[in-house]
Symmetry: C2
DNA sequence: CTGTTAGCGCGTTCAA
DNA sequence: TTGAACGCGCTAACAG
């Protein structure tokens, strides 16, 4: 008890005894057992479980940084896990997080399955969805203005005269994939220009897959004059393939399509073809998700209505 | 007890009772309290604490992915924390990790202070250092062949005729900074070419700082014909500045220095100036660090001698 | 100011 | 096959 009291401020412990305790603590390298502390009635772990689909994607690691910063400000740590875009792994991860009694969960959901995120399954542990929503799950969420951003970007391309625009994105079954494609399609509708299905590729998860899809697009007999890339993996893949072909020297630079990327990324400015960006800040997305969660963890935020935020994006047109 | 037995395999529990338990578990969303489990005698948390200097740097997030993959294979999770290159935060982070009774620690040390990593302070929890070593700390470590890689890269530049080579890196007080500079300097020595101190900048932690340093280098009256960049942050900063100046159109491309980057990075191939890379795999670095730790956590690895690994790097010369 | 009691959730051990 | 007692480390509440 004396040690416990000393370590929690030293109230009602003689100063010289406190000193002895501190000396012993320093010498022995003693650390209070947080796991034992967390099982006391009315106490929690101070951990926030963060499940993202891919740590190695700079977009998501920056997102995680934002969460971590905001959590650290509130004296909490994050438990980070990778789902690899796999719903089963997400379920296992969330289950593990709950077993460790995280105070809350921040999830970039991998699929549309959501039983494991339901209130009854999480034992009331609050969940915040980020980047993607899951229908019918009454939880807080923060996503981007996907449809609007894609609409704006596509409109800009159409306005500048493009009529054949390629589309590279991830699966339409994924929340962002569906929304971004919807914006792409609506812009076409409003311009009275049909989307050519031959120019639409929607199953690239990796840079290499995006490269392959780009190669296929460029090989068609009537290739697109611009490509809309629904995320940074696809934009980078397209860029790599185009750069490769330019260096191979088969055609001149301006025979290649210009690019519109949903997501900014490092070194985008080196693109040999004009590249515009639908820009937003993954770090801010992480911070916002964390704030939603932390707020919900506060006594006063506990019973607030469900908040579904949508962060704006901004179109940054290529200088050329 | 019946629930406990059912959840740990169902030995000696009547099948129909097991079923009832499982039904109730599913309905209630019950999860065993891992924190409570971990304080039982002879049990551990299954967590590995990972302290890196910057999650948002793709290099380190890929490193973390490698650790996570390897840890997941062994049924463990990682607790990830950011030190922001700050020794005090590292100490606090490690202390927090120990309080949560991590089974082991993987640390990219921020400084040379190491009291908090000593065996006596970690209560015998094994520590593995990655990327950087700390002198006088008898713990396992895995680092890169920094000196050798820098030596090879610099030698290649000198061999191809450069006599004025700039150096951009992080502080010489940092393990990798010191070693990479040493390789740079030794290559000069062996060629009998002195290093011009005016061309050496060693305090850039961020891309923007690296840009500034590059601008200063290019502005000197006798600018370098090549720049050795000791890590990806510095290479990217140099690239951005050079690209910017090329686009500004003041000089022709081949008046700009070529680049040698210690660290590969995404889209390096888009460089307008020749860029060679001293390549290595951060994911493998992470995996190796995790394996060192997991091995040490096994009964048979417990008392093994200290292992200090050095992973090889490979020089990939610019195609041009 | 310092110590004792009790209970958090779990599973080992022992009893029924 | 099931349940009861015990102890892990910690601290609120209550003696002393």
């Amino acid at each position: 008890m004396t040690v416990s009291r000393t370590l929690s401020g030293g109230l009602n412990v003689k100063p010289d005894v406190q000193q002895k305790v501190m000396d012993a603590v320093a010498e022995l390298g003693y650390h209070r057992n947080e796991n034992a502390r967390s099982i006391r009635p009315g106490h929690t772990s101070g951990l926030i479980g963060v499940a993202i689909t891919n740590i190695a994607n700079p977009y998501y690691s920056t997102f995680a940084l934002g969460v971590e910063e905001e959590a650290a400000l509130a004296g909490r740590r994050i438990l980070l896990g990778n789902t690899s875009e796999d719903s089963a792994r997400e379920t296992a991860l969330v289950s593990d997080f709950l077993g460790r009694r995280v105070d809350g969960l921040i999830v970039v959901p991998a699929g549309t399955a959501s039983r494991h995120l339901e209130h009854s399954q999480t034992q009331g542990v609050p969940v915040v969805l980020a980047s993607r929503r899951v229908e019918g799950l009454g939880v807080d969420s923060v996503v981007l203005a996907d449809t609007d951003g894609a609409f704006q970007g596509t409109t800009a391309l159409l306005d500048s005269g493009h009529t054949r625009i390629g589309y590279l994105g991830n699966s339409l079954a994924i929340f962002t994939g569906e929304r971004r494609y919807a914006g792409f399609a609506r812009a076409h509708e409003e311009h009275g220009i049909p989307v050519d299905p031959a120019l639409v590729a929607t199953n690239q998860q990796t840079v290499d897959q995006a490269r392959d899809a780009t190669r296929a697009l460029l090989r068609t007999e009537n290739p697109p004059t611009a490509i809309f890339c629904a995320n940074n993996r696809n934009a980078i893949g397209a860029l790599k393939e185009i750069n490769h072909q330019i260096n191979a020297g088969s055609r001149s630079v301006d025979e290649f399509p210009e690019l519109m990327s949903f997501d900014d990324f490092e070194l985008a400015e080196l693109s040999p073809v004009p590249l515009s960006v639908i820009d937003h800040d993954p770090r801010e997305l992480g911070r916002t998700a964390a704030r939603l969660l932390l707020d919900r963890l506060d006594a006063d935020g506990k019973d607030a209505a469900v908040r579904e935020l949508e962060l704006p994006v901004s179109l940054r047109m290529s200088a050329r």
